[in-house]
């Protein structure tokens, strides 16, 4: 029995952990912008970590249930209300058939994950239910949910107990100002030493354009490039390169003005130089940044990046242990 969508929110999409394996064909991994929050939401309601849930950005949908289920809302602080009564975030609660789930104003973060026991059972596309709207793949007909949609649920194993809650120290969220650790990349030599220092000392702010494809930042000083003869195939703009692959997290700076960090719905290649890459351990944080959030980029080396990745993996193990 499906969940009915009364109102959809801004751009609420069905997301799981994404569709790896097609990036070389231009199809990004997609999936939850904040992967740890999605995993936690699923574990709270007794789902597998890769089950499809709703990713609500900035504002929540209104959902009407037509069967009993267990729900958990994680990620950004988007307070759930059940028939108007407040419920806790990061905590599982029971919903009865006929009840309506809605949300208060977002208090912190940017994206909330709404997991429902059984998981959302829309048809997978290329092995994933994640919505990739630009490519019209996954989700409901390849798009964000809309009023009138009926979201099918998978079979529920057993009624999951309500009141399961993730300890506060395991709820990962960016600081304020947010700090994103960056490993300088292959094209670092294209900018002057002074520009390289400025990039890490300046304060940046998230631009309103930021979305699932990329997060744009503004407010820092423009980059100065080292003079060169444009290589074959690159344009005359000093931020252009001969086309190359774009890693997730890579930071392109068109014309040296505003850095863009590519995220889960990234394009896979193009002709902008990349300053470096936000380390994998900090990618979830980006998904929780509201427009205008003050952000600092912090230079790290590979050793620190790998240690941060191990630390994040340990946090995931602790989340699993806490919710097993």
């Amino acid at each position: 029995m499906p969940v009915k969508v009364n109102t959809a929110g801004l751009a609420t999409t069905i997301q799981d952990l994404g569709r790896p394996g097609y990036y070389h064909l231009g199809i990004p991994i997609g999936g939850a912008m904040d992967r740890l929050a999605l995993r936690a939401a699923n574990l709270l309601v007794g789902n597998g970590e890769n089950a499809a849930a709703l990713e609500a950005v900035f504002m929540g949908p209104e959902l009407e249930f037509t069967e009993d289920a267990t729900v958990a809302v994680t990620g950004g602080e988007l307070p759930p209300k059940l028939d108007g009564e407040p419920r806790e975030t990061w905590t599982s609660f029971r919903v009865k058939s006929g009840q309506v789930l809605s949300f208060d104003y977002l208090r912190a973060g940017a994206r909330a994950y709404i997991a429902i026991s059984g998981g959302i059972a829309t048809p997978p596309a290329l092995g994933s239910r994640s919505t990739y709207a630009i490519g019209a793949l996954g989700g409901v007909g390849g798009r964000a949910i809309q009023p009138g949609d009926a979201l099918p649920l998978g079979p529920q194993d057993e009624a999951t107990a309500e009141g399961r809650s993730l300890p506060a120290d395991l709820r990962r969220a960016p600081g304020n100002p947010a700090e994103l650790r960056v490993l300088p990349g292959l094209y670092w030599h294209r900018i002057t030493e002074a520009s390289g220092r400025n990039f890490f000392t300046d304060s940046w702010k998230v631009a309103p354009e930021a979305d699932r494809m990329g997060y744009r930042f503004q407010g820092g000083r423009a980059l100065e490039f080292v003079d060169r003869e444009p290589p074959f195939g690159a344009g005359s703009d000093p931020s252009n390169i001969t086309d190359a692959c774009y890693p997730y997290g890579s930071i392109q700076v068109p014309s040296g003005a505003e850095p863009i960090v590519l995220h889960r719905d990234a394009v896979s290649g193009g002709g902008y130089f990349m300053l470096g890459t936000v380390i994998s351990a900090d990618m979830d944080f980006i998904g929780q940044l509201q427009p205008h959030t003050e952000t600092k980029f912090v230079k790290v080396n590979m050793h620190t990046a790998l240690a941060a990745r191990r630390s994040r993996a340990q946090t995931l193990d602790q989340i699993r242990a806490a919710l097993s």
Binding site: L10, A11, V57, F58, M59, D104, Y105, L106, R107, A110, P208, E209, A210, D211, Q290, P291, H292
Partner: protein
């Protein structure tokens, strides 16, 4: 007269006019009807209209043109 508050559900940049070369949707003292647009919020490469949910008279704008805004912030006070 009782005062009603119009809040933004979205973060982003607030605009009081439909385009840079056009007048503001509403000024203090203007009549406002339920459903009237009072401003725009720019976020994620699109513009979202903010509408009044009451009838009344605009008392004050608490956010100015091009201000950064957060969810739940009061944009306009309306005397009803």
């Amino acid at each position: 007269m009782p005062t009603s508050e119009i809040r933004t559900p979205l973060p982003g940049t607030f605009y009081r006019k439909p385009a840079p070369d056009q007048p503001a949707y509403k000024e203090p003292g203007d009549q406002v009807a339920k459903g009237d647009v009072i401003g725009l919020v720019e976020v994620m490469k699109s513009f979202h209209e903010i509408r009044s949910d009451v009838d009344g008279v605009v008392k004050a704008f608490l956010a100015e043109n091009e201000d950064p805004i957060s969810p739940g912030q009061v944009l306009v006070e309306v005397e009803t």
